[in-house]
């Protein structure tokens, strides 16, 4: 009887150890190998591709991995908006200088007629990219404001934007900042040259 009471007192420990072992096992089995990630990158659904990019960009040394310059440049033009959006996020932008992304974003400010993405796609990528914790952290003064959150949520739920309303607002925000490079998102070739390493992999910022 005494032993039974003693065992019962330690029963929660045993149950938790079993739970921990199960979690560990499940965690390991959910972990994908580089090969599985490569397959997901090529053949997966857009969400699987985005996840594969996320993991491949963060785990191990990505230098000789599948996220090379050609892949990223192709992904920028990917017909699936989710994959294309992913190239504007911090994972990809810190792998390869995001000059192409910046060019696509800045063209709407500089020469709107030559804009390659429709306004909604462009706005979504612009908001994901130009953030303190986003693709390119351009300083605290360009953090999301509620108006931008409203537009972003509207766009994400399939809504349309009014260019006459959005662009002047974004222009005003950029002008209201005190950081040197916030007025335009045009590529900075001098900086790109300085930061580019021999492998073509350079600091994201």
């Amino acid at each position: 009887m005494k032993h039974r009471a003693l065992i019962l007192r330690w029963a929660p420990h045993l149950a938790l150890l079993l739970l921990l072992a199960t979690e560990y096992k499940l965690g390991l089995s959910a972990s994908q190998s580089q090969e599985e990630l490569r397959v997901a990158l090529d053949e997966g659904t857009p969400r699987q591709k985005a996840w594969a990019i996320h993991v491949l960009a963060n785990r191990g040394d990505p230098t000789d991995g599948p996220l090379h310059r050609m892949y990223i440049q192709k992904a920028i033009l990917d017909p699936d908006p989710l994959v294309a959006d992913m190239t504007y996020m911090v994972d990809v932008c810190r792998l390869l200088q995001p000059s192409r992304q910046e060019k696509r974003l800045s063209v709407r400010f500089d020469e709107p007629t030559k804009a390659q993405d429709n306004l909604e796609d462009w706005f979504r990528r612009f908001e994901f990219y130009r953030r303190k914790v986003g693709g390119r952290p351009l300083g605290g003064s360009l953090r999301l404001k509620q108006q931008e959150v409203k537009w972003l949520l509207h766009v994400l739920s399939g809504g349309k934007l009014d260019e006459e309303e959005v662009m002047p607002y974004l222009e005003r925000r950029q002008e209201g900042t005190n950081s040197a490079r916030m007025h335009r998102l045009a590529p900075n070739r001098k900086r790109d040259r300085e930061q580019k390493g021999s492998t073509g992999l350079i600091p994201g910022r």
Partner: protein, 558 residues
């Protein structure tokens, strides 16, 4: 009046639940009123980052790191779910949720106090919590302090009960509840992850037997481990490294173990002042506590001349070396950069009106600090954190004098009487709300300053004089000590928020039982503690008074 915690038989006054709920309802009402008054404020600082991460989580289906940090996912997950459910009103929904979650903080404060100091003190503690504006203000901003405290404090309360009761038939249940609460809080802030180990160790000597103590301690650790392991495994998959919840150590080392002094209570204020073209509060700082190499302003010219000569000699020697077929001396370039930096600093000081006092301290930029590790040097956020932490430690070891001085400043930053509420007032975030009005602004700012001043002083006196329960003394001491240690890297008023309810309990105990204090040692300890706090306020007084006077008080009287 006897202090209940002196009663070692485990008999405590049972909580008057009705009174507690009435006080909690008053706190809830006040916080709801505050939320209605200020409305859905625009996003500031990290608020925008949490919202960004929530939106990105919904869009891509997973959680991104923040490049320099890997925050625990709890708050962003909540934001993601709320935005999913309520659309653009999701942010406001989180604020309402915070208001209701804050009741947990108020109730725990009263429950802790009733066990330690009795009913009267608990009622006082409850009303202090109701009126404590800097805490209340965190319910209408999108920072995770409210949710964190709402989970962390009940966990601590259960630990206290276990420590006080010894043999307790409901011990297992209490340990599980404590573990779940603490694990939940870790999903919001990873900083107390090592405190959990300390708390587990504290359970051992107070369990009525070593075996039972070990049983409780290991159970607590297992519950917490079972809760955080799934996220740790996810991080292992993504980063190739087991990170239990998140990591901010490296970035905090960059901010706190580096040449430039950074305090996030003041950084936005400095930026705002720069934008308005008014003198920086940095001009009046007591620089002895933060400059790596402070020198007198009147000695600056002599130091600059010596540096110019050094640079000239080094450059000439380097050129000669190159001419002789050797390599250029890298030291010459470093000296040149140092001269450039000093010249820029000096010019800024020379441009000031009025001129700097000859006896004021200025920085002689002998050491330029260190830069963050960036790709390709590091691959991911986890690795960046490790490298930055190593750099920070190296910098601290190379400058032991600066390290000791600047840690005093960090303590002062933690004990500052200002808060995020006064920071928001100073930055004009409440300008479009009734709180930005002339009278309310002045009243609430004074109130917000008075709250921490009174509670910090009374709370610390309470800890040294009227807290006589050994378990509580150890528990509170370890908790305060732990949070003090974490703020030795980066400190600001926000980091003391989780400990404020404990200080409120101690302050209430001090109010009710101060007459029972006997013995010169306790009184002397209390006096030293008060002097220490006043000394820490003296350190931050120049910037705080300048910002308060010019940006909160006078700004709107014109």
């Amino acid at each position: 009046m006897p202090i209940p915690a002196q009663n070692l038989d485990g008999e405590f006054e049972s909580p008057p639940w009705r009174t507690f709920w009435v006080i909690a309802a008053a706190g809830l009402t006040l916080r709801l009123c505050l939320l209605w008054i200020v409305g859905d404020l625009d996003l500031q600082s990290d608020e925008a980052n949490y919202v960004y991460l929530g939106i990105a989580w919904n869009h891509f289906g997973f959680y991104f790191d923040q490049h320099r940090y890997l925050w625990p996912p709890g708050y962003s997950w909540l934001m993601a779910r709320s935005l999913n459910l309520f659309g653009e009103n999701g942010m406001l929904a989180v604020k309402y949720l915070q208001v209701f979650a804050s009741v947990s903080i108020g109730m725990t404060t009263m429950l802790l106090t009733v066990r330690l100091f009795g009913l009267r003190a608990a009622r006082i503690a409850g009303w202090i919590w109701v009126a404590y504006l800097p805490l209340a203000a965190f319910t209408h901003v999108l920072w995770n302090e409210t949710f964190f405290s709402a989970l962390f404090l009940p966990g601590l309360y259960q630990i206290l009960r276990l420590m006080q009761r010894g043999e307790d038939p409901r011990a297992t249940w209490r340990v599980v509840v404590a573990g779940l609460c603490l694990a939940g809080s870790l999903y919001l802030k990873e900083s107390p992850q090592f405190l959990v180990v300390v708390l587990a160790l504290l359970l051992v000597p107070f369990a009525g037997g070593l075996l039972e103590g070990v049983r409780r301690a290991t159970l607590l650790l297992l519950v917490v481990a079972a809760c955080i392991l799934p996220w740790g495994m996810r991080n292992l998959n993504v980063y190739g490294k087991f990170i239990p919840l998140g990591t901010s150590l490296g970035e905090n080392a960059f901010q706190g173990l580096n040449q430039d002094y950074r305090n996030f209570d003041l950084i936005p204020i400095e930026k705002d002042r720069e934008r308005r073209d008014i003198p920086a509060t940095r001009n009046v700082t007591r620089h002895w506590f933060d400059y790596v190499e402070p020198i007198l302003y009147r000695d600056l010219q002599a130091r600059m001349d010596a540096l110019r000569e050094n640079v000239s000699t080094a450059m000439k020697a380097s050129k000669d070396q190159v001419a002789a077929g050797g390599d250029a001396d890298p030291r010459a370039g470093a000296l040149q950069a140092q001269l450039l930096r000093n010249t820029t600093l000096q010019q800024r000081w020379l441009d000031q009106t009025p001129q700097k006092d000859p006896d004021s301290l200025v920085e002689f930029a002998g050491n330029v600090g260190w830069l963050r590790a960036e790709p390709p040097q590091v691959i991911n956020t986890a690795q960046r954190s490790e490298v930055n932490w190593a750099n920070g430690l190296r910098f601290a070891k190379e400058h032991p004098g600066w390290y000791a001085r600047s840690r005093i400043r960090k303590l002062a930053d933690l004990f500052t009487p200002t808060s995020f509420f006064t920071r928001h007032l100073a930055l004009g975030h409440y300008d479009e709300t009734p709180l930005g009005g002339h009278l309310l602004r002045k009243l609430t700012s004074l109130w917000a300053i008075a709250c921490p001043m009174i509670v910090l002083l009374l709370g610390i006196v309470g800890y040294t004089t009227v807290l006589r329960s050994r378990p509580a003394w150890l528990l509170f001491g370890c908790t305060f000590g732990y949070f003090l240690c974490t703020t030795l890297l980066v400190a600001m008023s926000r980091f003391r928020i989780p400990t404020m309810p404990l200080l409120i309990a101690l302050a209430a105990g001090c109010v009710v039982h101060h007459r029972t204090v006997e013995g010169r040692t306790r009184k002397a300890l209390a006096a030293v503690a008060v002097l220490l706090v006043v000394f820490l306020w003296w350190i931050t007084w120049p910037e705080n008074s300048m910002a308060f006077r010019e940006m909160v008080w006078r700004r709107y009287s014109a």
